[in-house]
């Protein structure tokens, strides 16, 4: 009975693994096919004559390196700014007494309820008016503050003893030193989680760059890859899938490296 159950679990697990891994395998196989083979054997998992021609076509159609660089710079800037701003704000909200503290905290919490899908029309109008559409400013500044990040930093700082900060002040540390040199390293696990989740989210983001750009000046890689299909004459799945591999590989590598931290961050632990 126990053995039978164990075998059922293994069979089910194999089935689920197939359901999630076969699509990736097909993506990779398709990207290695030639135009002739894609027409003759579109569904096979093993390319008969593997070729990198589809990748060459992707590089010829869009500036992959440039778009990847823009994407990585944008995602890193956002994640770093969120941490840089969440630390002092979280410190004030967790540790200092001042008039209006409750109001400030409620404002931060209220902002948690407003996703970018609600704000994009007015923000687009604002940037259009100031000529900031198609600039890094339009991609980064709306996300420079994370209400969630501020909240999480505040929660983490609640458990730091006041004496630690008082001791640092006695030693002559300025507030900037207290926030970035003492509390920053103390909150390392929280900040690493924040960085990872934010970086991955904005590296992948399609929505915001789509509505804030109209030309290629700051076009990010997800947009470029999506355009690959829209521009394609006929359905050239090998080229689209090659683009897909290029887009997903960096995130999947990062995922393989930091799976444990990422899982913990998503599970909110």
């Amino acid at each position: 009975m126990k053995r039978a159950l164990q075998w059922t679990a293994i069979l089910l697990a194999l089935g689920i693994a197939t359901l999630w891994l076969a699509p990736y395998a097909w993506m990779l196989a398709t990207s290695l096919k030639s135009l002739k083979e894609i027409a003759a054997h579109p569904t096979s998992f093993v390319p008969r004559e593997p070729t990198l021609r589809a990748y060459a076509e992707v590089f010829a159609a869009i500036p992959v390196a440039r778009e990847l660089l823009i994407t990585v710079v944008m995602a890193s800037l956002i994640a770093l700014l969120q941490i840089a701003l969440a630390l002092p704000a979280g410190y004030a909200l967790a540790k200092l007494h001042f008039v209006g503290k409750r109001t400030a905290f409620v404002l931060v919490l209220a902002c948690l309820l407003v996703p970018s899908q609600v704000t994009f029309v007015p923000v687009f109008l604002l940037f259009a008016k100031t000529g900031a559409v198609n600039t890094m400013v339009a991609l980064v500044t709306p996300f420079a503050v994370s209400a969630l990040g501020t909240f999480l930093v505040r929660q983490a700082l609640m458990s730091v003893p006041d004496e630690l900060i008082e001791a640092a002040r006695m030693d002559g540390a300025s507030e900037v030193t207290v926030v970035y040199r003492i509390l920053g390293p103390l909150l390392r696990p929280t900040l690493v989680s924040l960085f990872l989740v934010s970086f991955v989210f904005h590296y992948n983001d399609y929505f915001w760059p789509l509505v804030m750009t109209t030309d290629e000046s700051v076009r990010t890689l997800p947009l470029g890859i999506a355009l690959l299909r829209e521009q394609g004459t006929g359905v050239r799945w090998h080229i689209v899938m090659a683009g897909n591999v290029l887009l997903s590989a960096p995130v999947l590598v990062l995922f393989a490296l930091v799976q444990r931290q990422l899982v913990r961050a998503v599970a909110g632990k």
Binding site: L14, P42, F120, R229, A267
Partner: protein
């Protein structure tokens, strides 16, 4: 603690509050105001009162979009939660195979929406796609998937379930981790089988997790956009025009800022209603 200087709190919080005001509070107010104007971005805005709301409501557009989005969300939440819980229960055990399944299912959640949407467009392609080939091999007929107004919403929901099940699974796994093994041992000693242990120990202790996953994924799927923009552009016959896509269409394709803003206001109101539901679910679970 007392701030060292009276102006310190303002300096520490100022940048954050200013940015939140400019990019969150002000836009919400502006959307509410702009919804009362007719504005095509080229000529000056003209005050029209509630005409934008009326026009959207009379054509049945507003109700259609709202119901479609809600239907889509319910499909996604039901699918992702059921699968996520089932997979979590299955892979909540030691062994390399189960670790592989955990990683594989979660990886879809980490990969970009663009990649997932394009990948499934390829897989579902009626001629070149793998899914169509499998259906043919099984002797089943052609299914329209993305090309048929009757199946497009369910297809988009299925693709979304494939992408987000990993999120539900991770949270359920964390919930399962937190159940003290003593509870299961005690139930076993009392002669409870697998099903009864699930019903009387696992399921009730997972309550808060279930409520959290349900409400969070409801709110997130209500905001779905990428999958629509990439896979269907709202078609065929508007059968997959979800809320955010409808807003996007009004600004960028119809150049109607007023109608887009009116849609935004309704969308935000519905989101707030869902958020209240989320808070309630939390409190109810917290008290029990």
């Amino acid at each position: 603690m007392r701030p060292r200087k009276p102006w310190h709190p303002a300096a520490l919080l100022g940048p954050s509050l200013l940015l939140l005001a400019v990019f969150v509070v002000f836009p919400v107010a502006l959307a509410a105001l702009a919804s009362l104007y007719s504005w095509d971005l080229l000529t000056p805005p003209e005050f029209v009162g509630l005409a934008n709301y009326r026009a959207l409501a009379e054509g049945g557009e507003l109700l259609g979009v709202a119901l479609r989005t809600l239907g889509f969300s319910v499909l996604v939440v039901t699918g992702a939660m059921t699968l996520g819980l089932a997979i979590a229960l299955l892979v909540h055990r030691p062994g390399r195979l189960f670790a592989l399944v955990r990683g594989a299912v979660f990886s879809a959640y980490v990969v970009s929406w663009v990649a997932v949407a394009l990948l499934w467009m390829g897989l579902l392609d009626p001629d070149a796609g793998l899914v169509a080939a499998v259906l043919r091999a099984l002797g089943l007929g052609r299914v329209g998937f993305l090309g048929d107004p009757d199946t497009v919403l369910a297809t988009l929901a299925a693709v979304t379930v494939w992408k987000v099940t990993g999120y539900a699974m991770i949270l359920f796994l964390a919930g399962l981790e937190a159940i003290p093994p003593v509870l299961h041992e005690a139930a076993s000693l009392d002669g409870a089988g697998h099903w009864n242990r699930f019903r009387h120990v696992t399921w009730p202790t997972l309550g808060p997790t279930t409520a959290f996953v349900a409400t969070t994924s409801l709110i997130l799927s209500f905001q779905a956009f990428d999958v629509v923009r990439i896979m269907t552009q709202g078609g065929p016959a508007r059968a997959s025009t979800l809320f955010v896509y409808a807003i996007y269409e009004q600004v960028f394709l119809n150049l109607s800022v007023g109608k887009a803003s009116a849609l935004t206001v309704v969308f935000f109101t519905l989101l707030l209603a869902l958020a209240t539901l989320q808070l309630r679910a939390w409190r109810a679970r917290g008290m029990s």
